[in-house]
């Protein structure tokens, strides 16, 4: 006897706890097997790029905070580097170090959210609370620096808004010593948990070739075994002074480029960030942090594309200046926007429950996708 079957279309989201924001996934199903996933985005669209055209260059910085709200420091960092490149500004040594420390702390904070919520998506709720507890320490460090926990407006064109709090370096050092054992704890609790491995290993395998063709960057690309990190491969700021490794996925628990690899690369990256922070604290010189801030930001006419290694991948700013105080065009190459595109490819042939695991492993932030 043959049963009549037909394709079923199921909407996941826009209100769904594991879509990490307002994202709608149109799932095409054959029974419980996914045949295609079509992401529908734009629910958070504020048209940052249109706003930017109406503002002066320094006024744009707070808006960049609100794109990838889990990595605000890094968004500012990328934006000011682009403007500085266009204007040819050299910033003082101390500023470079402050930016790197902030950037790496932000990377850890962002990865903690990624790892914690990933565990929660899959059903392990305790690691989520552990991760948020540790992230709180970083948010506290940011708070004593800039006065804000999430949206800082701290890194300015040519410098930072003000110098570090007198206790900052001591507290950061304490945090590094505190956090190292916590990574081990997370590994025992979640990473090498057999149930977790069963849910994530061999799921959503992304081959390196496909990843590059889809423009995937960041931990997602490195999990596929490609050793590509802009901090090493196209160094900006002072990243060439630090000694750190680029973790890549090697299919330890399954296939190279599966969800578990994407998860584990982030864990290892946090340890590397700790190394960078430690070195930066030791090397940071004294000095003025506001001396290079230009009074009037008026870049020469022309275009620039500048990129940084954001916690989620390559964050690029494409700025066209017409020589006035407002940019003519600001385009953000948001890593999450590009990374999400591959979702359909990864989900084909998997079960509905695996969509949650795959989407979580890509680690998207909708504020950045929709801008």
């Amino acid at each position: 006897m043959s049963l009549k079957t037909e394709e079923m279309i199921l909407n996941m989201g826009p209100q769904h706890p594991s879509t990490h924001g307002v994202l709608r996934l149109e799932l095409k199903l054959e029974g419980e097997i996914i045949t295609d996933v079509i992401p529908h985005i734009g629910y958070l669209h504020r048209c940052f790029e249109k706003h930017a055209e109406a503002m002066t260059y320094p006024q744009i910085i707070p808006y960049t905070d609100r794109m990838d709200y889990l990595a605000s420091m890094y968004n500012e960092f990328g934006y000011v580097l682009a403007v500085e490149k266009l204007m040819g500004i050299e910033v003082p040594e101390r500023v470079e170090y402050i930016r790197v420390i902030m950037g790496e702390l932000q990377r850890i904070a962002s990865h903690l959210v990624a790892l914690g919520t990933y565990g929660a998506d899959i059903g392990a709720f305790t690691p989520f609370l552990f991760c948020f507890r540790d992230r709180e320490h970083i948010l506290h460090l940011f708070e004593i620096t800039s006065g804000a926990r999430l949206l800082y407006n701290y890194i300015w064109i040519g410098g930072v808004s003000h110098d570090l709090h007198p206790d900052f370096l001591r507290l950061t050092k304490e945090f590094v010593d505190y956090f190292r054992p916590k990574v081990k704890e997370l590994n025992e609790l979640l990473t090498f948990n057999q149930i977790f491995i069963d849910r994530t290993a061999n799921v959503g395998v992304l081959p390196a070739e496909t990843a590059i063709n889809y423009g995937i960057t960041g931990p997602n690309l490195r999990a596929s075994g490609v050793k590509w990190d802009l901090r090493k491969d196209d160094p900006y700021s002072i990243y060439d002074r630090f000694d750190f490794e680029i973790p890549v996925g090697n299919g330890e628990k399954g296939t190279c480029g599966d969800c578990w690899d994407r998860y584990y690369v982030r864990v290892k990256e946090m340890e590397e960030s700790l190394k960078i922070i430690e070195q930066a604290i030791e090397q940071i010189p004294e000095g003025d942090v506001t001396s290079a801030i230009p009074r009037r930001v008026k870049p020469p006419a022309g275009q620039v594309y500048s990129r940084v290694e954001n916690p989620r991948g390559e964050l690029g700013y494409f700025i066209i200046s017409d020589g006035s105080v407002n940019p003519k065009r600001v385009k953000v190459r948001a890593p999450s926007f590009v990374n999400l595109e591959v979702l359909g490819e990864l989900c084909k042939g998997h079960m509905v429950a695996d969509v949650v695991a795959i989407l979580g492993s890509i680690d998207i932030v909708l504020g950045e996708i929709d801008r």
Binding site: G42, R307, G316, R329, E341
Partner: protein, 176 residues
């Protein structure tokens, strides 16, 4: 590793008229200007040819050059007539570690550019975004629909310099 000058020379020899010029008056990166309907062939060449192998499209960005004539429409709104829209392509080779910027300019009234989507899959969403924001039509794109704005948005393309916010969208007041 190839310099922009070498890449320009090679493209000029291969494609002749379709490769217009190399703009070196830029403060940071020079760019190569290419004819809008030939850009897919140029990109295919850059993607495949040994020694170039630009395997990664970093960014694709539409731009409103706003270089047309500014006139008033019947409702006394400023609109731009004529001029061009542009698309910038940022390519990189992770094999040879070189980068290049391509630019195409197309007519504002009928903006048509060849799609590069079948070379780099990542171009799919980038091109949809450029279509959504500027109304640039990418020929041979398999699914050129809006991406960030609502699918049935009828008020035009938001990032054009003469865009007017509509008063209502489906009976809802827009400037709330």
């Amino acid at each position: 590793m190839k310099t922009p000058e070498e890449i320009f020379e090679a493209l000029k020899n291969k494609f002749g008229e379709a490769v217009i010029n190399l703009a070196t008056d830029q403060p940071v990166d020079p760019y190569i200007e290419v004819a809008p309907l030939e850009v897919d062939k140029v990109c295919k060449f850059l993607f495949e040819e040994e020694g170039f192998e630009f395997n990664s499209l970093l960014n694709l960005s539409g731009v409103d050059d706003a270089n047309g004539e500014k006139v008033k429409d019947e409702n006394d709104n400023d609109i731009i007539k004529g001029g061009t829209l542009s698309v910038f392509y940022h390519l990189e080779s992770t094999i040879h570690r070189h980068k290049i910027v391509l630019k195409v300019s197309t007519d504002r009234e009928n903006p048509e550019v060849s799609s590069v989507e079948d070379i780099w899959r990542t171009a799919d969403w980038h091109e949809r975004e450029a279509y959504d924001m500027f109304g640039i039509k990418f020929l041979n794109h398999h699914n050129l629909i809006r991406i960030l704005m609502p699918y049935d948005w009828e008020a035009g393309y938001p990032l054009r310099k003469d865009y007017q916010n509509p008063e209502f969208y489906k009976g809802m007041k827009v400037p709330y």
